[in-house]
């Protein structure tokens, strides 16, 4: 059943509605609930395929459903519709306004009602797609404050990598942090690249979600085998590669590549002069789990991330 989680009247003949698909047995099920959420950033579309595939699969196998599956494909409908990362008209990053406020302005109100709708789920997956600049292998990112509770679930999600990162005050305004703080376990998935859909990654995460549904008792149908992810809990394990100069970045390897120290990752070139401005080489053996997709770079632009010493693990 399609439900409206929150709606707001707009000035000119339109109502903004944030909707979810609620799938549950006719008798309401066993009370267990998983929520799959995406589209906070309007330019991240990888979750669209996952939501479609999950909804289609469950609706064709409703007899196996024991609990509730809530699918929220578009938390930021304005953004998705206008190819805008943030909330258009406000130039606001929606993932910096949670938990929102029922008494706040339109966006804070929307955020509060979304949290109200999702809170209390036994597990939430918040699917992101990095941004238009970077491509990521399927991974889950966990704030170290919530690692004990989230890591066992993350390991069952069929991703390649789990990155436990340090706490940051700025991230306290995110959807996932707000829910985790409110005792609703929420996993942040990053995979693929902005403005595109990588169906193989979607298929991989879909299998992980079905497996998690089975573990939660929401699902009594087919299960899928899941892969064992690499887990990094040490911030010193991850190397950030930033552009030394402005130019056009030409990558030499793809994300997921195993690297030896000195391997060429890409070049920054100047099309006007025909020069190679810089060659980016791996500083050590490792696994390239992020690579820059968008070629135009300024000094400082992120070009990639390497997990040190994990070359043979994946």
């Amino acid at each position: 059943m399609i439900e409206t989680v929150v709606q707001v009247e707009l000035p000119v003949d339109e109502t903004l509605r944030i909707r979810r698909m609620r799938l549950q047995p006719e008798d309401g099920g066993n009370g267990r609930r998983i929520s799959v959420v995406t589209g906070i950033h309007g330019d991240e579309l990888e979750g669209q395929y996952v939501c479609y595939k999950l909804s289609d699969y469950i609706q064709k196998n409703m007899g196996c459903l024991r609990g509730t599956v809530d699918i929220y494909p578009a938390l930021n409908p304005f953004g998705i519709d206008s190819i805008t990362r943030g909330i258009p008209a406000f130039d606001l990053d929606m993932n910096r306004i949670f938990p929102g406020s029922a008494e706040g302005d339109m966006n804070e109100y929307l955020a509060a009602q979304i949290v109200r709708g999702v809170a209390g789920s036994d597990l939430v997956l918040d699917i992101h797609a990095s941004n238009i600049f970077l491509t990521e292998v399927p991974q889950i990112r966990i704030n170290e404050l919530h690692a004990d509770r989230l890591l066992p679930w993350a390991k069952e999600a069929n991703v390649d990598f789990i990155w436990i990162h340090g706490a940051s005050t700025v991230l306290e305004s995110t959807f996932a942090h707000s829910l985790n703080t409110a005792d609703t376990p929420t996993l942040v998935v990053e995979m693929g690249v902005g403005m595109r859909i990588t169906q193989s990654y979607g298929d991989q995460l879909f299998a992980g979600i079905v497996h998690l549904m089975k573990r939660l008792g929401v699902w009594d149908g087919e299960d899928f085998d899941v892969r064992t992810p690499v887990v990094s809990a040490d911030n010193d394990d991850v190397c950030f590669l930033n552009a030394s100069a402005s130019g056009i970045f030409l990558k030499s390897v793809n994300h997921g590549a195993s690297l030896r120290a000195g391997d060429l990752i890409g070049r920054i070139v100047n099309p006007l002069t025909g020069e190679v401005i810089d060659e980016i080489k791996s500083p050590a053996d490792g696994w390239l789990f992020t690579i820059r997709e968008y070629p135009v770079v300024s000094e400082g632009s992120l070009l990639g991330r390497i997990l040190y010493g994990k070359k043979d693990s994946v």
């Binding site: 000035p11 302005d105 991230l171 305004s173 135009v296 300024s298 400082g300 632009s301």
Partner: protein, 312 residues
């Protein structure tokens, strides 16, 4: 006066990105004033340009105190200003969410880091700031409650109001917050507008900054003495919201004293023209902020009122 480049990035096709500062006087790093940080902050840029003009005159007249230096940074983000984009030209990040910055990080982290390195040691830090909501403000000083704030000093600007603001998580990456953490006495100066230039409130803001610098023993200046500021916490302000979306017709302006029950604005249906909502003041007070766009979404904070109280 010395014009100097505080931070620079070489570009591929555009002119190099530069953050330029104007230094007046020599000696102790007494005061730093920062203007526009976002591409739509015309008023903030204008205020700085007027301040630079006045400080040039004062310096020529020998009225900057010996052993004191003032730095004015009119614009931190000329790239975005020149293409009329609010945030950073490539990735849309906000430089004022990147402090204290990081010299090996992403581009806007490097800009914030480069600027902060140049301005973090000043005794007083003043920023002409803007608010994301479209509307007009009563000029005021805003101070973040970090434990290092100096409210009494904020009164020295002579603005009608000093607003005390409890930081939210994203505020911890702003210039004002980090200035305070690095022991600079930091103040945000809010004038009436952002995109539109309001010369009257810009004049008032520049006079207030000069007044502050005089009281802080940095310059000699005979000018605006100012108001006896009322200190108000943002939690004490009353927000008024509209129930319906539509055309917004304001009937009260920022700075106006209003009575409980007074009609502040009407909302009209965008197709049929009929008034569908009347917004009334819930209290007696002064309008600190008034919405100023032709249309309005439902449940928007259209007015912020400072309640009338004996103790202010």
């Amino acid at each position: 006066m010395e014009k100097k480049i505080l931070f620079e990035i070489k570009a591929l096709y555009r002119d190099d990105f530069r953050v330029t500062g104007y230094s007046f006087g020599q000696g102790e790093r007494a005061a730093c004033v920062v203007g526009s940080m976002r591409g739509n902050e015309n008023q903030q840029l204008y205020c700085c340009s007027q301040l630079v003009r006045k400080l040039k005159e004062l310096e020529a007249e020998g009225r900057i105190h010996s052993g004191k230096e003032i730095l004015v940074v009119p614009c931190v983000n000329p790239y975005s200003m020149n293409i009329k984009k609010r945030f950073w030209s490539i990735d849309n990040t906000d430089i004022n969410r990147m402090f204290p910055g990081y010299d090996e990080g992403e581009t806007t982290q490097r800009i914030a880091g480069g600027l902060f390195e140049a301005i973090k040691d000043y005794r007083y830090g003043l920023q002409f700031a803007s608010f994301y909501m479209p509307g007009r403000f009563v000029p005021h000083i805003r101070v973040m409650k970090t434990g290092f704030e100096d409210v009494e000093l904020a009164r020295e600007f002579g603005f009608p109001y000093v607003l005390l603001h409890t930081p939210r998580p994203f505020d911890t990456a702003t210039l004002n917050y980090n200035w305070q953490i690095w022991e600079t006495k930091a103040f945000s100066v809010y004038t009436t507008t952002t995109e539109e230039i309001d010369r009257s409130s810009a004049r008032q803001a520049v006079e207030s900054v000069l007044n502050f610098l005089r009281k802080a023993d940095v310059i000699d200046y005979d000018g605006f003495e100012g108001y006896v500021s009322k200190v108000v916490s943002t939690e004490d302000m009353v927000t008024v919201r509209n129930r319906s979306a539509g055309f917004f017709e304001g009937k009260a302006e920022a700075g106006e004293h209003v009575r409980k029950g007074q009609v502040l604005a009407c909302i009209a249906d965008c197709y049929e023209g009929e008034v569908i909502d009347e917004i009334r003041s819930p209290i007696d007070g002064t309008l600190l902020f008034a919405h100023a766009e032709p249309r309005v979404y439902q449940n928007t904070a259209v007015y912020k009122i400072i309640p009338e109280r004996e103790e202010w």
